[in-house]
């Protein structure tokens, strides 16, 4: 061991502290940066041939709990998916109306029923007849408004989907690029901590878009796996999804009805994308809103057929469905009927038809009893139709002792794959209430889930921050340690210098 060696070791010590203080200042400056995990410099003592040779500075490491981070990513997807659903359903909620204002579907139906009841007392009253037409018009408009809201919701979901796929592609490009640089840095034995922190930010952003997990590979590269079973190697050139072009989704559906799939390398991977905003948008576009629409169409059809079945064609007939699938779906004849239903123009021009009826019913054992409309010049106080409407159209039976045919709850929608989440009672009022209550219960369920899942997310976020975020107190005490160590090393340098001077003076 020589003076030179001592000086060398002290210089190495100073250089090591310089690097550590740089890491520390990086930590302190990023104390409020989201996703920043605390970095720590590593150091080992060096020996050669059994002789101590000072300190070696290693690669900078990050202090992060990767398991907790993955949990948080999964939770992010859950929360952002629920938030997307909640926002979309909340947009529909005002259109649903409320019973107190009398503008929800069940109230509108009740108003029609009440108008018929009032008319029964005085069938010849023209004002009462017009009241029935007005109430019918209110009901039809409510059905139109709901149908319109569902369509708008689907269109919004589709538009957001295209935007989110674009963002996802950008994230994948960033992730692939960063991963390549991390791999290169690790191969070269350099620190990749700062790049890792950058990648974490993009990983977090991606986790809100889609339910994904990140599987780290040995060499620093990373694989992305969606919850639906799709795996992507994050490598340049980055994998890119292709979203279906923005089409009007009102009368179209995925997969066979005009909306293309989300593709990767030309393969449709839509089913593999679940969770997060993208998963929620797909669910809204392909499941939730179409099944609402299906239930509403079913209600509109039941309303029309039950009235017509007793002798009154109060509403316009369905225009016919637009299905492109081979097998005929349950709702083949009346797809999208709720959007087009209106009061029969002949009834609007001649309101007395609501007293007289306009359909001749041939009685059958399973349908309504026989009925012949009252002629325009017939008895003014005719209540035969009104009784049938109040008794059977709005009732649970099509004629005494024969139950109404139950509305379909399975095989709904243009491709016959959707189902309503309820079993409606046999009468129309019950059906309307079931639709309203099931949809408002969906809204509150999603909203409650969002609240509880957000709480879990916050808890996870807090845990992760506690274990990985920068703590200024720790950093400050570390700074004092480093300062002292720097001073000690500098003293050794100064002592070696003094010894040198003495040595020089000893040589004459």
């Amino acid at each position: 061991m020589s003076l030179d060696g001592a000086l060398q070791i002290a210089t190495g010590g100073l250089a090591n502290i310089n690097r550590q203080i740089a890491v520390l200042s990086q930590n302190v400056s990023n104390v409020n940066t989201p996703d920043y995990a605390r970095e720590v410099g590593t150091q080992t003592s060096a020996t050669a041939g059994g002789q101590g040779l000072g300190v070696m500075t290693g690669a900078v490491q990050r202090e992060i709990n990767l398991q907790l981070q993955q949990q948080l990513f999964a939770q992010n997807a859950t929360v952002s998916g629920l938030a997307t659903q909640s926002t979309a359903l909340a947009a529909i909620d005002p259109v649903q109306g409320t019973p107190t204002q009398g503008n929800d579907l069940a109230s509108r139906l009740g108003q029609l029923q009440d108008a018929f009841t009032s008319l029964q007392a005085d069938p010849a009253n023209a004002a009462g007849q017009r009241q029935v037409v007005t109430a019918a018009n209110g009901l039809a408009q409510q059905l139109n408004a709901l149908s319109q809201a569902y369509g708008t919701g689907r269109q919004n979901a589709q538009d957001s989907l295209v935007t989110d796929i674009g963002t996802l592609n950008q994230n994948l490009t960033t992730l692939s690029d960063l991963t390549q640089r991390i791999t290169a840095a690790r191969q070269a034995g350099l620190s990749s901590a700062d790049l890792d922190n950058q990648r974490d930010t993009t990983m977090r952003q991606t986790s809100t878009l889609l339910g994904v997990s990140f599987i780290p590979q040995a060499n620093g590269s990373m694989m992305l796996a969606t919850k639906g079973g799709l795996t992507l190697q994050l490598q340049t050139p980055a994998p890119q999804f292709v979203a279906p072009s923005t089409v009007a989704v009102q009368s179209t559906f995925y997969p066979a009805g005009g909306i293309g799939g989300i593709t990767l390398n030309g393969v449709d991977v839509t089913r593999a994308l679940t969770g997060g905003q993208i998963g929620a948008e797909l669910t809204l576009r392909d499941q939730t809103l179409p099944s609402y629409q299906g239930a509403l169409d079913e209600f509109a059809n039941a309303l029309n057929t039950r009235l017509a079945g007793q002798g009154l064609q109060l509403f316009t007939k369905p225009a016919g469905g637009t299905s492109t699938v081979v097998s005929t779906p349950v709702q083949a004849g009346y797809l999208g009927y709720a959007g087009s239903i209106a009061v029969n123009p002949s009834v609007v021009s001649t309101p007395s038809l609501v007293r007289d009826g306009n359909v001749t019913v041939v009685g059958s054992a399973s349908g309504g009893a026989a009925f012949t409309p009252n002629s325009a010049t017939g008895q003014a106080g005719f209540t035969g139709l009104i009784q049938r409407v109040i008794g059977f159209s709005f009732g649970a039976q099509v004629q005494a002792g024969v139950a109404q045919s139950a509305p379909a709850t399975q095989g709904l929608g243009p491709d016959g794959t959707l189902s309503a989440p309820f079993q409606p009672p046999a009468d129309l009022a019950g059906f309307a209430s079931a639709i309203v209550s099931s949809q408002s219960s969906d809204v509150s369920t999603v909203s409650n889930q969002l609240t509880s899942e957000t709480a879990v997310q916050t808890a996870l976020q807090t845990q992760l921050s506690a274990s990985s975020a920068v703590n200024v107190d720790t950093e400050m005490s570390r700074m004092v340690e480093l300062q002292n160590a720097y001073g000690a090393n500098a003293r050794i340098v100064a002592a070696v210098q003094a010894m040198w001077t003495q040595l020089m003076q000893s040589v004459p």
Partner: protein, 438 residues
Amino acid sequence: MSLFGAMNTAISGLTAQAAAFGNISDNVANSQTVGFKRTDTSFIDFLTTSTAKENTSGAVVATPDYINNVQGTVAQSDNPLALAITGQGFFPVSLATGSVGTGGSAPTFSTLPNYSRTGDFTMNNTGYLVNSAGEYLNGWSVNAASGVVDRNSLAPIQVNQTVYNPVATSAVTLAANLPATPAAGSPVSSQVNVYDGLGTVHTVTLNWTQNAQNDWTVSINAPDDVTSAARGTADVKFGTTSGNGVPDGTIGSLGTATGSITTTSYAAKGAANVTFTSDFGQGAQTITLALGNFGSSTGLTQYAGTTYSLRGLTQDGVPPGSFSSITTKASGDIVVNYDNGQTRTIARVPIITFADPNALQRQNGQAFTATLSSGSAIADDAGTNGAGGLIVGSIEQSNVDIAQEFSKLIVAQRAYSASAKMVTTADDMLQQTIDMKR
């Protein structure tokens, strides 16, 4: 005679101390030279007459004492290619004698092997690793495919493999759970990315359909296949439904393969592989889909659940990559890194030891050559058979201790002054002798 003899002896002392002074000067001048080994001085006494009755003055001769086996200080360097030897041994290096080709792209090397501990290597413009003294680092070549080190020949290490050729996927390992109660209707689907011989990525879709409880059919589709997308189907049975004694939920049998698929048959703890052939335009490519082992829960399982969950997936194909950096390992391996995440070991640097390293012939540039007395060069892997270890990213400084040199300097100076005093005293005495005659 004796006075002249004494004077000659004193003059030999002056010469010897001057030589020692020269060595000290050399050491101090090179105290900051990387990999420099110091030279000490030994003194040897020569006799003229030395008996019980008579002793006449002799002479002293200084001989250099080469200290090649003492470790110098190791300092950390910012150069990632720098290497320092801890312990015994030297790097094998070559000296360039000239160059051929445009711009000196192909240097020619001296056939005389040189050895050095100067480890501050950098990669020069022709891809060779050269230290600050201009010596080219030699190494054993490593077979790129097999990774076998060829220890028979040493040659200058040149990094010229600038492209990592793509590797077609031949094996995919899948660890996942199929849901015991899947949603009715659409099959459980998973996508795998594979590479063809040109490094182009293709998607292969695995569609899993549950036929009955614990009985599944996998259908493999490769939409990019030039012949047809459907690559075939195979049945996968779990638990005792398979007829084999395996734990519930683990693979029990594979079979009923159609199309291009072949499957392995049941053997306790044997590999459960589904092999299919696909042609992405580069000829038939056989890909083995490893689903784990029969009766084991490490690969594909079928436990409770309603959705497919992936636990891990690896495939051995590699896209093309280009050169990104070069690193050295403590084992002496020189590793080339590519931007596709792959690495390739191109050479290994051996450590050369000698029976007597202090007897090596010094050469310019802190290098040494073997001599008869040093013994022949023995090449070993770092850290084996007495050869020193390697520290990467560090350099070995000289083994000169200036304090020690200065103390030797003081001694040499005093000894020189004393010898000079002997000469002047002898001169005075001779003058007195001459003055005796008037």
